[in-house]
């Protein structure tokens, strides 16, 4: 089957927009992907046809909405091959998913003197929640450094693990370096010491087929808005054996079984962790995004993005003074770089004027910037809708910018 790029692009109305009278080139999908009409229409359909608060009302609308919401939970379960729907918690994003684990797992299982291993290439969202709980509990965060090419050494991990280690937190795919970390091996090594692993899958879920059972991940977090779905929806996968033992993260409606002023009993999984009225429309629309990904085939999307990555990498390498951060073999579709003598903000600013949307700055990964001793860089990232022609336009624009300095 050939990849029908024109058809795919036609799903995303925003791609027809012009920016400063130039056709939009959207190279910032790793920050947030654009939304297809299927997702927009799903949300409209819900509000026009069957909206009500879920799991509560004894009326038709509530029933229909509940059904649609729970269907998405089932779709997510299949998407990542979880064993049970009880292991799929809807959150507002990867950040909240990780905060939930850090707070709730931390409350139950962390004690003074314990250690949490966090890789040096993590997004702030997979560092700060651990620091918060570490401060509360007197726990030490242990840095797992990465190599200059953007890879993590498993031997280093083996050396860092000790009887004090109570968690390993690592990204499946680095948001700056694009490295696809060997999470299966990482988890295996940690499990030999009975240490659970949380995988930040925000940058992996839109690009790689995920099988949480094959990985044997204890926790796996990702966001809908990077997967062509709506904002404000995320997923936390957690093994039932952990989730059962973890206390609720937030209290409120939905997560309770019975409430009195003396004592409250909590609802069963997954509702125990979904306090309050959830993002009903977001979750239901996320289902449409997953449906779209499934219909195109994630492997086809990945192959297409990989071609773009190779093409763009070779083109960029021709530019004098350009340095790419992260060149791990088989990396994912992001390229972070700097050009000697051009500040990343200036570069992003001028490219924006030429219709090109990309990310600049520290990319929410100060520790990665510190590793390379830089203040920031620019990053391009690909989605299912990008093309080689866009890469060509981008490279030409970049050469023009270079000439301005």
């Amino acid at each position: 089957m050939s990849y029908d790029i024109d058809k795919i692009r036609s799903y995303f109305p925003i791609l027809k927009q012009e920016v400063y009278n130039k056709p939009l080139i959207y190279f910032d999908s790793a920050a947030s992907s654009q939304k297809p009409i299927q997702v927009l229409m799903k949300e409209e359909e819900l509000h026009n046809e069957y909206y009500g608060n879920i799991h509560r009302g004894a009326h038709f609308m509530a029933d229909r909405a509940t059904e649609a919401y729970e269907e998405v939970r089932e779709r997510v379960r299949t998407f990542i091959n979880a064993d049970s729907r009880n292991e799929i918690i809807f959150t507002k994003g990867t950040t909240e998913s990780i905060n939930l684990v850090a707070a709730s797992y931390g409350e139950q299982f962390l004690n003074e003197g314990d250690e949490i291993i966090v890789s040096e290439m993590e997004h702030h969202s997979n560092i700060v929640p651990w620091q918060l709980v570490a401060r509360r509990k007197g726990v030490r965060i242990v840095k797992w450094p990465f190599n200059d090419d953007g890879t993590l050494s498993l031997d280093k991990l083996r050396n860092l693990l000790s009887t004090k280690t109570k968690m390993v937190a690592v990204a499946h795919v680095s948001n700056v370096l694009g490295t696809i970390n060997p999470v299966k091996e990482i988890i295996e090594i940690a499990h030999q010491r009975n240490v659970p692993v949380l995988v930040d899958g925000a940058q992996a879920a839109p690009h790689l087929a995920i099988d949480v059972q094959e990985l044997d991940a204890d926790f796996y977090a990702f966001s809908a808005h990077k997967m062509y779905g709506p904002n404000g929806v995320g997923v936390l996968y957690g093994k039932e054996k952990w989730l059962e033992k973890m206390p609720p993260y937030q209290g409120g409606g939905e997560m309770i079984s019975e409430v009195s002023f003396e004592e409250t009993t909590f609802n069963e999984l997954p509702y125990k962790f979904e306090a309050g009225t959830p993002n009903i429309n977001g979750v239901i629309a996320f289902g449409a995004a997953l449906e779209l990904i499934d219909s195109i085939g994630l492997s086809h999307v990945a192959a297409w993005e990989h071609e773009l990555l190779d093409y763009a990498t070779s083109k960029l390498k021709e530019i004098e003074g350009l340095k790419i951060y992260g060149e791990a073999p088989g990396k994912s579709g992001v390229i972070s770089f700097n050009i000697e003598g051009v500040h990343s903000y200036d570069m992003a600013m001028l490219l924006d004027k030429m219709g090109i949307a990309l990310r600049s700055g520290h990319l929410c990964a100060d520790t990665v910037m510190a590793h390379y001793d830089i203040q920031g860089c620019v990053r391009i990232s690909f989605g299912m809708y990008n093309t080689k022609e866009e890469v060509d336009t981008f490279v030409n624009a970049l050469n023009k910018v270079r000439m301005m300095f």
Partner: protein
């Protein structure tokens, strides 16, 4: 010249540029021409940290007027800093408090002052005002 007149002068200067590229080339030129700060002034106390670029601002009161000096690590931001300094440096605190900084908006460069840009410029404009408030109290 008053603050208002200098702002108008800058707007006139920019009006001769036909497209955005000329405008930005000029900003880059201004940025490159801006006298660099003494390395010792580029300290944490003078640093205004944005997540995209950094700006340093130094203020000194002399004969009732505030002399501002500044710099940025990004050249376009440095160009904008140069323009700002031209407008605000060597003014009495009260003059600064009575005026409004509108020329960046007039030049169509408003996006550089957007909080989401986080390039340090917006914070610099606020910081200039804070210095004016503080020094007006000393003077007053």
């Amino acid at each position: 010249m008053t603050i208002e007149q200098v702002q108008q002068e800058i707007v006139d200067e920019f009006s001769m540029f036909e497209d955005w590229m000329d405008k930005y080339s000029y900003l880059i030129e201004l940025g490159n021409e801006l006298e660099p700060l003494d390395p010792k002034d580029k300290n944490d106390q003078n640093l205004i940290k944005g997540c995209q670029s950094r700006v340093w601002l130094v203020a000194e009161l002399e004969d009732g007027k505030i002399n501002f000096r500044g710099e940025s690590d990004a050249v376009i931001v440095k160009g904008l800093v140069a323009l700002l300094l031209r407008v605000v440096s060597g003014r009495k605190p009260q003059e600064l408090l009575d005026s409004e900084m509108h020329f960046i908006d007039d030049l169509g460069l408003k996006q550089h002052l957007s909080p989401t840009r986080s390039n340090g410029l917006l914070a610099m404009v606020k910081q200039i005002r804070l210095y004016a408030v503080a020094y007006s109290k000393i003077e007053g």
